[in-house]
């Protein structure tokens, strides 16, 4: 009896990606302890790009960074950056010291590869 050809074994494929997300999102707040005029959205983006240019040069300034939301009252914003540029952006924001000759500081409140994760912040959770 001729042996019947067996069907090919089912192909099992498993893909493991270390960091699949293309973008990282940061919620940041700019602190201006000396008061004064607050930057608007365009000036805020200019500030971020100039911080990158100081620390990482033209290559850093060319990093695709987007300001997704900006609130002028609280000076807080959500930034989006390509995942390979997260370290450069975060280090540039950390080392930025002056805005128009006034002291300033960036505080990074939340960061995540998913935008949805920035909607809730367990640090501000109030338990009653």
């Amino acid at each position: 009896m001729a042996a019947r050809a067996e069907p090919p074994p089912a192909a099992f494929e498993r893909r493991v990606l270390r960091s699949a997300a293309r973008h990282h999102y940061l919620r940041v707040r700019l602190e201006l302890p000396d008061g004064g005029a607050r930057p608007n959205a365009a000036q805020f983006k200019q500030l971020v790009v100039s911080a990158l240019r100081e620390l990482h040069g033209e290559v850093g300034a060319a990093l695709p960074v987007d300001v997704l939301t900006y609130e002028e009252k609280t000076l807080s914003a959500i930034l989006r950056v390509i995942s390979s540029g997260l370290v450069k952006l975060w280090s540039a924001l950390t080392l930025l010291g002056f805005y128009q000759n006034r002291r300033c500081a960036f505080r990074v409140l939340q960061t995540s590869p998913f935008l949805l994760a920035l909607s809730g912040n367990s640090r501000e959770l109030v338990l009653d």
Partner: protein
């Protein structure tokens, strides 16, 4: 076992201006390269590349420059070399370009490459010669390249014969 590894970048200075040759000195080239790295890669890149950065060898006649840097930052250095637009020395500024020829791990490999490269360049020069006296000149200096033991060495293999290579 664990040691600091360096990368040696061999480049040549190309310029339209013949007066640029007098400007090729180690301090001028070093400052120009550092300035280009600072512009392209910022403070972080400048500090990274400056750790073990020197101009190891310079030949003004052929425009050959050998730069050294750490192995971790040689990519920053190589990517900033096309942004060197001029050399400045003694308040004179001449436009120029740096062409990367070879990246090696030791000075010896760069020297071996340079010897072969110069040999090929001399042959190409001989082919592109337009008049006979240039040809004779090149032939004479090729034949006279030799290391003599008694007096001072009359020309190493790796140095060019001194004629302007444009």
């Amino acid at each position: 076992m664990v040691r600091f590894k360096n990368r040696y970048v061999l480049c040549e200075v190309l310029s339209d201006d013949p007066r640029c040759r007098q400007c090729i000195e180690d301090r001028a080239v070093g400052l120009a390269v550092r300035d280009a790295i600072g512009r392209v890669h910022g403070d972080y890149g400048l500090a990274c590349c400056s750790i073990s950065f020197t101009v190891k060898y310079l030949n003004a006649y052929t425009g050959t420059v050998l730069l050294r840097c750490r192995k971790d930052s040689y990519r920053l250095l190589c990517s900033a070399l096309p942004f060197v637009r001029y050399l400045e020395s003694r308040a004179q500024r001449y436009p120029c370009a740096l062409n990367t020829l070879h990246v090696g791990g030791t000075i010896r490999t760069c020297q071996k490459f340079l010897i072969q490269y110069n040999r090929r360049q001399l042959l190409m020069l001989l082919q592109n010669c337009t008049n006979e006296e240039e040809r004779q000149c090149i032939r004479k200096s090729l034949l006279s390249c030799s290391l003599t033991e008694e007096q001072s060495q009359s020309g190493d293999e790796e140095d060019d014969d001194g004629t302007e290579t444009d």
